[in-house]
Amino acid sequence: MVSNAINQQMTAVIERVRCSLVQLTNGHLGSGAGTIWHADGLILTNAHVVQRHAPQVLLADGRSFPSRLLAYDESLDLAALSIAAHNLPTMELGSSRRLRAGDWVIAIGHPWGVVGAASAGTVIDVGVPLELPRYPGDLIQVGLQLRPGHSGGPMVDGNGRLVGINTMIAGPQVGLAIPLHTAKKFLRVHLGRASENS
């Protein structure tokens, strides 16, 4: 049955993506999510998650590392961290520019502290949301529920390829993610070629 096949594919994608999802703890600031970008310890997250601090990074395999804040852009709401770890599981990159309204995506994070929780929905639009005309770039608008703790975690397509970073909500039922192309540009501007995903 189709629904069975969908369930199996969803489970497979979520299990794979969880390996590249990290927890960030900032003491009293609580916790957020992060996405492993580079096998040599580069982590991508939201600026509002780290708030100019360098959080402790807890990997899916249970190891924990202090981090260094490498790049930070408050207006884009992106930050890059570095940890002293290697051979980390990275994610295949998708194409956020080719996302269309109706495309299926999955967001993974730690909503309300529930580690590695997934929610799925379809793309409403990729562009500047009418309610957020001041955000300096496109946002992936998705009909799924993002909650505190999702921020910084990966949004992936039906193949588990990274297309965005979960960032904020627009109403209780609509999540907004920073598209991969914005994240790539942010890393290129701040870190140059060293940021290239491997």
């Binding site: 969908i6 594919q9 969803m10 269309r100 109706g102 299926w104 379809t122 793309v123 009909g143 039906g158």
Partner: protein, 298 residues
Amino acid sequence: MSNVLTELSDTLANTVANAGAGVVRVEGRRRIPATGIVWSTEGLIVTAHHVVSRDENIQIGLPDGRSTTATLVGRDPATDTAVLRADAADLTPFTESNKQELGVGNLVLALGRPGKTVQATLGIVSALGDSWRTRMGGQVDRYLQTDVVMYPGFSGGPLVDAYGRLAGMNTSALMGGVSLAIPTATLARVTDALVAHGRMKRGYLGVSTQRVKLPDELREQLGQKSGLLIVSAESGSPASAAGLTLGDTIVTLDNEKVRDHDDLLALLTGERVGTAVPVSIVRGGQVQQVQVTIGERE
């Protein structure tokens, strides 16, 4: 790489892209624009009444990016439907509509175009039911509730099935907090009437009534528990002209039971305007029948 999830994803995105040709932006209010459904090649647009707050200076954003003006053909607040005529002659209407195939649990998409691009939210059919009457007395051919997210500017836009066939028009105004769709059959009926007359005809009796319980013997005789007691009749109204008066209790109209206000509203249809129909009343404990020529509500 392809799997069932990416196939579903592609199918949905293709459906949205194709159906988007029949989805326009409607700028007819101060807040953010809303959405309309292309109804005919020659520029008829169906949208929600509540998103068109002005009667003039209405702008339509076409799927190809052009912008054009539209005039108001008519509106039916009772079904939250408005019909516009865009200054365009080469539009792409929905060719196929979903008739009765939808079932609870089926995937549906709400489409919107408050900006330049077509937007979509996915949901399922939550509830289906028989015909129903809105608070303002509008007759809707079937109850169609979904759980699609009504993103800002989605009102007036199409609800389509997974094949992209038109199932209805989404509106969030008829019932607060519930995503309802006005089914295609109702849109067609209302649109035809608005194009023909500029408004929806509604019948008129000219009485104020109150629902009352019937005595036991009348209940058995008539097969209904209640009727509508006339508490006032306007002079010169169709009811007065037919001799209906204070104290009469209406129990049937055109051989249909009148048990409460909803029954009466439902029977005062546009088609009955100008026709003489039998009305049964209880007067002095006896059932009598009078002929009433239904007037038209202004």
